[in-house]
């Protein structure tokens, strides 16, 4: 296999792309310069670190090490999708549920493929398991974050509708049906758009990477088709599981709507978010209407 090597000085040239974004942010007064620089540094550091981890892993391939790396990736994905939920319950409540939703989606997408489509020898072959699992976990993470953010926000803004349905004798599932449908559509849309535009607008990363590193395009395409279908499965399963968890958090066993307390905007930026928060029952904001 032959491919063009990227030397360190040439790699540093790509920093100029970040500089362009930083300059545009400053010019437009977006206030994103710090986030852009931190994100660029952190992203690069994480990629370098995973590069060395993969090197070590390939040299000492063992199911325990592969499992450990996947567990770290799963925890990071769960923590990320539970972190940015402004309208939801505290992170400590969402985190285990995010892990379960992401894990369920990844399992459904990965196990059948590694058993029947790309059978691995040994089954924990790191150069397949780690990158493909990473893609699944990442997609599931984004779907779960979207589901949590949107379902709690819409339950909060449409609480009167939901309660009106409950008051007519609806089950929680029936009362939240409209919000669930809108949430899942929004969460699955990027994945569906990816299916529709692949090959027309974008050549996906994995396929590009394989072609650049010398894999025959025909095989690279086949891999990419499998990956795309896995991404659909992971999004659907993770989204549905996250919705099921959100529904349980939004209603009591007696079918009463319980909204998480909104956190003050001042505490939402970055990591300095208020902990706790508790729950708000309908009617808390205004116990009685003003005369």
């Amino acid at each position: 296999m032959s491919y063009l090597h990227i030397s360190l000085p040439r790699l540093l040239l790509s920093v100029g792309l970040i500089a362009v974004a930083v300059a545009l942010s400053r010019r437009s007064r977006l206030g994103l310069e710090g986030d852009l620089i931190w994100g660029a540094l952190r992203g690069a550091a994480q990629l370098v670190a995973i590069g060395y981890v993969l090197l070590l892993l390939f040299d000492h391939e063992h199911p325990a090490w592969v499992g450990l790396l996947l567990a770290v990736m799963l925890i990071a994905a769960g923590a990320t999708s539970a972190r940015r939920v402004e309208h939801g319950p505290p992170r400590s409540v969402l985190f285990p549920r995010a892990i379960a939703a992401i894990g369920a989606g990844a399992l459904v997408a990965l196990v059948p493929v590694f058993v029947a489509v790309v059978p691995l020898h040994p089954w924990y072959e790191a150069r397949y398991v780690v990158p493909i699992s990473g893609m699944m976990l990442s997609n599931a993470m984004n779907v779960v974050a979207l589901v949590f953010e949107r379902i709690f926000a819409s339950a909060s803004s449409e609480a009167d509708q939901i309660e009106a349905l409950l008051a007519l004798g609806a089950t929680p599932r029936q009362a939240l049906e409209g919000q669930v449908r809108a949430t899942l559509r929004a969460a699955l849309l990027p994945t569906i758009n990816g299916l529709l535009t692949v090959g027309l607008v974008a050549l996906p990363g994995m396929m590009t990477g394989q072609i650049v590193s010398g894999t025959a395009p025909e095989q690279a395409v086949r891999y990419q088709i499998v990956i795309l279908y896995q991404l659909v499965a992971v999004a659907a399963v993770a989204g549905l599981v996250a919705v099921a968890f959100a529904r349980r958090l939004l209603f009591t066993a007696r079918a009463q709507l319980v909204l998480p307390r909104a956190r003050p905007a001042i505490c939402r930026r970055g990591g300095a978010r208020l902990r706790g928060g508790g729950a708000r029952r309908i009617g808390d904001a205004s116990l009685d209407p003003a005369p």
Binding site: D160, Q161, E163, A164, L165, L166, A167, L168, G169, A170, T171, Q174, T252, R254, A255, Q256, L257, R281, I282, G283, D284, L287, D288, P289, A290, P291
Partner: protein, 216 residues
């Protein structure tokens, strides 16, 4: 059909505060009851507790002598309807809104029944085809009443049904509630307007700091 709704020693706590503090109320079949009180007295929270839409921290809600916790919430709320101060209209027409309750239970509402419900709440059936979200406050209250009546409701709990209406519209709603009560429905109306509480014509309770007392 009508039922007896009872709240016994109900307590609702919020952040350590007793919003409803040992309130007891009895609504007999076909009886009209007004709960009157100032803003913040806990009367709306009490109405929601009676509708089982919020959890109580102590006390019991009974329907025909049976503990509400022993009745499926869907069944309880089909028999005991709750209407918020500004009832939410669902997307679609007024007809769609009327059909919402029966549809939840796998039933359908015929056009003749829908028209009858419109007459029952004093609206012209021509309104059935209108977009529900374009209705005025008074029309919304009536459509919400009709929507609740599309279910086999036996008790109507209304939270400030006249608060967002002009005086004339408010009086017409109270008159309508009296009419419905005359047809055998049990009515519980929460209000801060003394004239409306009196006009309803039944037992009047006063709510102060979450406690209920019968108004002389």
């Amino acid at each position: 059909m009508s039922a007896t709704l009872e709240g016994r020693e109900l307590v609702v706590l919020r952040e350590g505060r007793r919003i409803v503090d040992g309130a007891s109320i009895l609504v007999r079949p076909g009886e009209a009851v007004a709960i009157q009180g100032a803003s913040g007295s806990g009367k709306s929270t009490l109405a929601r507790a009676l509708a089982t839409l919020i959890e109580t921290d102590a006390g019991t809600v009974l329907l025909d002598g049976q503990d509400a916790r022993e009745i499926a919430p869907t069944q309880f709320r089909t028999r005991v309807a709750f209407l918020a101060q500004l009832p939410a209209m669902f997307g679609g027409t007024v007809r769609d809104n009327l059909r919402a309750g029966p549809a939840l239970h796998g039933k359908s509402l015929g056009d003749a029944d829908a028209r009858e419900l419109m007459f029952a709440v004093g609206l012209d059936p021509s309104i059935l085809a209108r977009e529900a979200r374009t209705l005025s406050g008074g029309e919304r209250q009536r459509v919400a009443l009709a929507r609740a009546l599309a279910n086999p409701s036996e008790v109507l709990l209304l939270d400030e049904p006249t608060a967002a209406l002009d005086p004339d519209a408010g009086e017409r709603i109270v008159a309508l509630l009296r009419t419905l009560c005359g047809r055998g429905l049990s009515i519980v109306m929460v209000t801060h307007v003394e004239a409306h509480a009196r006009a309803l014509g039944g037992t009047r309770y006063r709510c102060e700091r979450g406690r209920l007392s019968v108004d002389a």
